[in-house]
Amino acid sequence: MHRRLRHGLSAAVLSAAVVFGAGAAVAASYPLERTELQRWSFSGYFGRFDQAQLQRGFQVYREVCASCHSLNFIAFRHLGNEGGPHFGEEEVKALAAEYIVTDGPDEFGDLFERDGKPFDTFPAPFPNDQAAAAANGGAVPPDLSVMAKARAAPRHIAWMPVDMLTAYQEAGADYLYALLTGYEDPPPGTEVTDGTYYNPYFLAGKALAMSAPLSDGIVTYDDGSPETVDQYARDVSAFLMWTAEPHLMERKRIGFQVIVFLVVFAGLLYLTKKKVWADTAH
C-alpha cells in the first residue's frame, strides 16, 4: 500500500523536485545513481522482521562479511532475542562456542583464550584499525552494527511529506542493498584508482575500496531460498537493519498502543472540554 502511495505521488513530487532542484549546482555529485527503494517486511506502521530472513542474513554476515567487518555492539545472546533472529538458547550457546575469545587476566596476570559464551560480543576480525587498513589496501572496513542507520539512500526534500506519512525509515537498508548489488564495470572513459571498485550507488565517490563481496552461490542456504547475489544482499541488509535497530518490532507495537491510548484520551478530553465550555460563548 505504501508503495502504491509513493508511486501515485511520484509525479507530483518529481515536478516539485524539478522546481526545487533547478538552482542546484550539477558538479560531480555522489552517488552517481539514485538508490531504488525496496520492499521490506519491516517497513511501514506494522512492519515486522522476517525471522528466517534474519537468520539467513546472519549466515551471510558470518560467512562473508565477518572476515573484514566487525559487529562490535552485538553479543551472541542478542541473536536469541525475540524480535530478532530468535535462535534457540542452545543454538546460541553452540554458536558462541564456535568462536575463540581472549579473556583475562587470570590470577597469574596472563591473558588466555577460551570458547565464546553468549554474553561475549562478536570478536572483531582485526585487532585494531591499523591492522584492518593494512589488510585492506589502506581502507578500514567500518563496523557494521549501526551501519543501516549510518547511511541512507539520498532522498530529495520534496519527498519529505510522503516519507513521513509512510513512516519511511528503511533508507539505510535500501542503500545497503543497492551498494551490494550495484557493482559494475566502470563506463568507458571513467578511470578508477587501483584497489577501488566502481559502484555508482556509493555515497562518497564513484568507487570504494571494497570489492563486490557477494557472488551467486557463495553461501549455501538450507531453507531453499535462492542462492543469488540479489537474495544475499536483501537478507544481509535486513539482518543489518536488525543489528542497528534491535527493538524495531517492539517499538512499532508499543507505538501503536500508545497512539491508540492517546487518541482515545484526547477524544474524551475533547468531550469534556465541550461540556465545560457549553454555556460560555468564546
Partner: protein, 418 residues
C-alpha cells in the same frame, strides 16, 4: 498576584499551612481562579505544552544520565548500550531526542503566536524578553545535548560552533582553547558540555518561573489584542483553560509519539551514527533542523566575524521587538499591512531553514544573502515604518462584545471570573 488571596483552605492542616507558607493559595490564585480571556484559541495552549515538554526532557534526561558516559572513548558505545540493553532505553532516548525537536516546534509556534497577535507589546515587554532568554538557553542546551552521542555530526558541529569564537579579535584563539579545555574538541570538551547540558534545563525552569510570574502580573493577551476590561471578558483558569490545555497537550503528544515510534531517526542525520573521528570531516556539516535558519544567516556573510555577529544579532534583535514595532495595535487581525508582512517573514524564515541545509554556493548563497537581508529589514525597517503608515481596522470595544456578537448573542450569560 499582588491582590489578597481569596483562597479558603478547607482542612485544618490547610489553614495551619496557609498561615505559615501560603503556597496553596498561590497555586489557587495562579492556576484555578486566575482570570483568562474567554476568546483564547488553541495557539494559547503552547505555553502549557512547552512546560510539559520541559518536564519531559528533564525526566527522560535524568534517566539517560544514569547510563550515559561522557568520555570521548565511551560516549558512543554508552548510547548504543542504552539503545540495546537498558530496559526501554531505546524509548527514553528516542523520546528525549525527538522531544527536543518537538520542544522547538512548540517554541517556534509560541513565538510566532506572540508575533502575530502582538503579545510582546506594552505591558508585556519583560514577559517577552524573558521568553527570548528561555529560547537562548534552549538553543545552548540542545546544541550541547547534540554533542553528547559523540557521532560525526556531534563532533563536527561542536568543532564548527566553538571555532566561531576564534573570530573574536585578539582573544579569539585563547577563548576557543579555554572552551575546549585543550587544543581541539575532545574528552574535556565533551565533559563540560555534559555538565552544562545537565545544568541549563534547570536554569530554564528558573526563567520559566519568572516568565509565568510576569504573565500573571500583566495577564494574557488574546486574539483581539485588546485589554481585558471587565469580568465579562474572562473565564476562570480552571476548568476552562485547564481542560483546553490538557486536551491540546495530549494532541501534541500524539504527534510526538508518531515521530518517536515511527520516524525516530527521521529528523536526525545518519552521520551521527558514525563514531566521532577528528581525522575525517563529513562532506556536509549540518546542524539539527531547528538551527538551520540561523546557520543560513551565519554562512550568508562572507566575513567570519561579521557572520558570527549576524548570527547572534538575528536572535538578539528579538529582544528589541517591543520597541521596533511602532504600531499600538497588537493583533494582526486589525493590521492590514502587518498581516501580510508577518506571513512573508514566516516564509522567509522557512526559506532560510531550507537554505541552511544546502551548500552555500551559487544560487543558494545568493538566496541566503537576500533572505538574510530581508530578515533584518523586517525588524529594522519594515516594522518601524508600517506601524506609522498603516491604518488599522477599528477595534471592538471589548472582548465580551466581540465574542457575543460573533456567536449570535444566543450563548447569553458569560461565566465571569470569581
Amino acid at each position: 498576584m499582588s491582590a489578597e488571596s481569596t483562597y479558603q483552605p478547607k482542612s485544618g492542616f490547610g489553614r495551619w499551612m496557609e498561615a505559615r507558607l501560603p503556597i496553596m493559595g498561590l497555586v489557587h490564585d495562579s492556576f484555578v481562579v486566575y482570570p483568562t480571556p474567554r476568546n483564547l484559541n488553541y495557539l494559547w495552549a503552547f505555553g502549557a505544552i512547552l512546560t510539559m515538554m520541559l518536564v519531559l526532557q528533564i525526566l527522560t534526561g535524568i534517566v539517560l544520565a544514569m547510563h550515559y558516559i561522557p568520555d570521548a572513548a565511551m560516549a558512543f558505545a554508552s548510547i548504543e548500550h542504552i539503545m540495546r540493553d537498558v530496559n526501554y532505553g531505546w524509548l527514553l532516548r528516542y523520546l528525549h531526542a525527538n522531544g527536543a525537536s518537538m520542544f522547538f516546534v512548540a517554541v517556534y509556534i509560541h513565538m510566532a503566536r506572540s508575533m502575530y497577535y502582538g503579545s510582546y507589546k506594552e505591558p508585556r515587554e519583560v514577559l517577552w524578553i524573558l521568553g527570548v532568554i528561555i529560547f537562548l538557553l534552549m538553543i545552548a542546551t540542545a546544541f550541547m545535548g547534540y554533542v553528547l552521542p559523540w557521532g560525526q555530526m556531534s563532533f563536527w558541529a561542536a568543532t564548527v560552533i566553538t571555532n566561531l569564537f576564534s573570530a573574536i579579535p585578539l582573544f579569539g584563539e585563547g577563548i576557543t582553547t579555554w572552551l575546549w579545555g585543550g587544543f581541539a574538541v575532545d574528552s574535556p570538551t565533551l565533559n563540560r558540555f555534559y555538565s552544562l547540558h545537565y545544568l541549563l534545563p534547570f536554569m530554564i525552569v528558573g526563567v520559566v518561573v519568572l516568565h509565568v510570574w510576569a504573565l500573571h502580573v500583566v495577564g494574557q493577551n488574546n486574539p483581539l489584542g485588546i485589554e481585558v476590561r471587565s469580568k465579562q471578558d474572562t473565564v476562570r483558569f480552571t476548568p476552562h483553560a485547564t481542560v483546553k490545555d490538557v486536551f491540546a497537550s495530549v494532541v501534541f503528544l500524539v504527534v510526538l509519539a508518531w515521530l518517536m515510534f515511527y520516524l525516530p531517526n527521521f529528523l536526525g542525520h545518519p552521520d551521527n551514527y558514525i563514531p566521532a573521528n577528528s581525522l575525517q570531516t563529513p562532506a556536509h556539516i549540518v546542524p539539527e533542523w531547528y538551527f538551520l535558519p540561523f546557520y543560513a544567516i551565519l554562512r550568508a556573510i562572507p566575513d567570519k566575524l561579521m557572520g558570527v555577529i549576524a548570527l547572534f544579532a538575528s536572535i538578539g534583535i528579538l529582544a528589541f521587538l517591543p520597541w521596533l514595532d511602532t504600531s499600538r495595535v497588537r493583533s494582526a487581525r486589525f493590521r492590514p499591512l502587518y498581516f501580510w508582512f508577518f506571513w512573508i517573514f514566516m516564509i522567509v524564515v522557512v526559506g532560510l531553514g531550507y537554505l541552511g541545509a544546502q551548500t552555500p554556493e551559487g544560487g543558494f548563497l545568493l538566496a541566503a544573502r537576500l533572505l538574510t537581508a530581508y530578515y533584518f529589514a523586517h525588524f529594522l525597517i519594515i516594522l518601524p515604518i508600517i506601524g506609522l503608515i498603516e491604518r488599522p481596522r477599528p477595534l471592538p470595544s471589548s472582548i465580551a462584545e466581540s465574542v457575543l456578537a460573533s456567536s449570535g448573542g444566543e450563548a447569553g450569560e458569560a461565566a465571569p471570573a470569581e
